[in-house]
Symmetry: C2
Subunit: 180 residues, 2 copies
DNA sequence: GGTAACATGTAAGATGTTACATGATTTT
DNA sequence: AAAATCATGTAACATCTTACATGTTACC
């Protein structure tokens, strides 16, 4: 069985929603997957094209008056199959963490203690902003369609973000105290 | 001020330890930074070379009998400065998460509930293995040199891993329950 | 005799980011 | 008049992974 990259799977998943153009996909990701998955136009457009050549999607060009043309993408049966097969596959990586704060902290004996403290303080503030974003995402999901069978799963991913971010904030506080 | 990539900063940091060759660096990272920073030989060797051409390190070739030649790298004053400047800089990204489990979960209405449960169960098991690794890393740090001024910071990074992983495990348990 | 540990490296390919390019309409 | 929104895309570059290539010694 052929394998595709993660970007492809993300696109296949999003196409099961009513999200059809590159532009819409980018927006949806920025609004609801952004906390655990990012994607740029430089990935979206070439990969959408590839979906079509691989037979995973079809495309229809729609002219709109007053607005630019839209290229609407639709999953094929094969595309849906590939998505479901991927879901059923075991995980490849658990987490692909690359944490810049921890990298800096690891070498922090080479800087004064107060500099390390402000590093952690800054990090804590960013994490608190993240918590605020989660609130905004939750509201967006609820406004969108809370009865949708998708919504339940989306809220689970949010809960993950909240719990782990909260744990990280607590770690920040504890570590700032220890450094004092 | 010129900027370098993260791999370069990681190498500069490691060269402040008594870790001098590409091989040793790889080992150290696999043993103690691995939970938040990974690196491959394909990054290490070319980047070490670049450190020298950029004037951040010098290299001495040592012949050993019975063993292959070692190329030992040493930080220059400029190298130490670049490291310290980077430590003092504000963070570029908070976290660069790309979480495959969450990506799958986000689209999990396209698979049966029991498949999603086993996805989470598998994830939970992997997280528990991670907790075990933290224990092993802690022992390694304590055996190495617990009095070292570095060790304190290393333990902080470990604590981060433990706290956030524990939170993730709790989330797994709660979410598996909810899906039932 | 085989494998693990020691040791250095390259080449190809996959993947991702950033900046640029275009252009209409709508809102401020 | 300027900026934001809608909409599509590319090219250059940065970065990372994987597989391959090479060779010795020590241990089982």
């Amino acid at each position: 069985m052929k394998t595709y990259n993660h970007t492809t799977y993300a696109l296949l998943g999003i196409l099961t929603l009513d999200c059809r153009t590159g532009y819409e996909i980018k927006q949806l990701i920025d609004q609801s997957l952004n906390h655990f998955w990012k994607i740029s136009y430089g990935q979206i457009y070439p990969n959408l094209k590839k979906l079509v050549t691989d037979g995973l999607a079809t495309v229809k060009v729609k002219s709109q008056d007053g607005k630019p043309d839209r290229k609407e993408y639709f999953l094929t049966t094969k595309g849906k199959e590939v998505l479901q097969n991927w879901l059923a596959e075991p995980l490849q990586q658990i987490t692909d963490e690359r944490n810049e704060v921890l990298l800096k902290l690891f070498f922090s004996r080479h800087q004064p203690a107060d500099q390390t403290q402000s590093l952690l303080l800054h990090y804590k503030e960013e994490l608190q902003k993240k918590i605020d974003t989660y609130k905004a995402i939750e509201e967006m999901i609820m406004n969108w369609n809370p009865q949708s069978p998708d919504a339940t799963y989306w809220l689970y991913t949010l809960d993950y973000g909240r719990r782990t971010t909260r744990a990280a904030i607590e770690w920040c506080e504890a570590t700032i105290e220890k450094i004092k």
